[in-house]
Amino acid sequence: MAQTSDSHQVIIGEHEQYTINMGPQHPSTHGVLRFELSLEGETVVGVRSHCGYIHRGIEKMCEVSTYQQIIHLTDRMDYLSAHINNEAVSLCVEKALGIEVPERVKVIRTILSELTRVGSHLLWWSAFGMDMGALTTFFYGMRDREKILDIFEESCGGRLLQSFICPGGLMHDVHPNFVARIRELIPYLRKKLPEYDRLLTGNIILQERTRNIGVLSRQQAIAWGVTGPSGRGSAFSCDVRVHEPYSAYDRVKVNEVLYHQGDTFARYRVRLDEIHESLSILEQLIDQIPEGNDYAVKMKPIIKLPAGDYYQRVETARGELGVYMVSDGEKYPVRVKFRSPNFSNLFVIEQLAVGHKIADLVAISGSLDLVIPDIDR
């Protein structure tokens, strides 16, 4: 029990527990997520996560949308992986219809996906530094991500929500500057990335605050379905690009980044290494874009999938995104389920944070790279 002393200060005993809400408006939850924390002093003894603050019912809306319209809803799930979400639905529809898109489309889709991944990881790095109290990282990361957004803006029209990849190919052809811009971007980022390491990775405060914090074992990662960089930080080999290549990933060399420690620092290292890896994929693909201007196959104005159920998975910047579609042969799907990576990654935090301080919870949730609209959908 809390006692009131003579000076009206609340004194809390050593082994007393109390409950406090972190969120839904809290800068380090990166969105509207609420953690209900049970604390002993500053030590976390229990976490319960409450979501649904930004639930828009995307799966319900999909049931009254045509397959072309669904594309625009998927952007709004994991808005930092918009291209990859679009690609997941497009691939699922194409698989159901048995459509093979042109080689050029496959390569451009893969390039866009990798640019998205780099952009997303850069934003994560910026925000993670801020969570740790290093404000400068935000300026570095945003400065470099801007170059990627400019490429998107030029070719797709949108900077954040592009809705560019659609069933059958792309909405329209990429800008003539597309290739040249990416050729400039790769050496630029390669030059800048060592700065990131000098600024933050080698920093002793960051290392002390992330090493051995929030250790996720490989078994835990598999059991709880933690995928993406968070799973790979625990040596769970779960990269869809490697295990089930889609688009043009079968013709490039993708090295899966794996770390064995499973702590916050390992997850940090995976993401930074993945930026390098994505740049090398971009390097391999940028000269392979076939000549010509075919950017889509002709699709019927109203797409009807044959009756049945279809599943397609892709690797977003945060893990495995699965699209499960049930069709009865009509123009609207009967059911669309998105297996979103963040939804599965979130609940493991209830185990990771126990025994650590509140500040460590911020580091752990930062290292899981949660995007809340993707959890709530």
Binding site: C51, E63, I222, G225, D309, R313, G322, R335, S344
Partner: protein, 152 residues
Amino acid sequence: MNHNELHQLLLSHFSEVEVAVGSQFIEMTVAPEGLHEVAKRLCEHHACRMDFLFCQSGVDVNGRLGVVYHVRSTTLKHACVLKCFAEQREGAVLDSVYDIWPAAYAFEREIYDLLGITFHHHPDLRRIFLEDDYRGFPLRKDFIDEINIIHN
């Protein structure tokens, strides 16, 4: 293991379950009373080792409520689908697979929230997205929301 080998394996080890070859996965359909036992065997049998529940979806098709489990083996690299339909719509109940695949914790809460299927032995079955006092289950086909009308 390829598609045919897995099909043969599942046919021989799960004789009481309906095993069909789908366009992508081997699809098994199991009755609610056998669900937990079949799921446990899928996870633990040395030739199956489906240790990763990568997707669990609630569906409302042909007037029946059901759950579709997509499971994969991280060691043997094969995957299959398990389907189970509840016997009735009102008070639909299935066994929880949380003790086999902890990933089901969140998936089952979501299915309970949006489709109203109750899971026996789930540790903490509450609504996950909607308010606790929300009435009805939006992803059911017979759901009518008088406030936010979405229909085609």
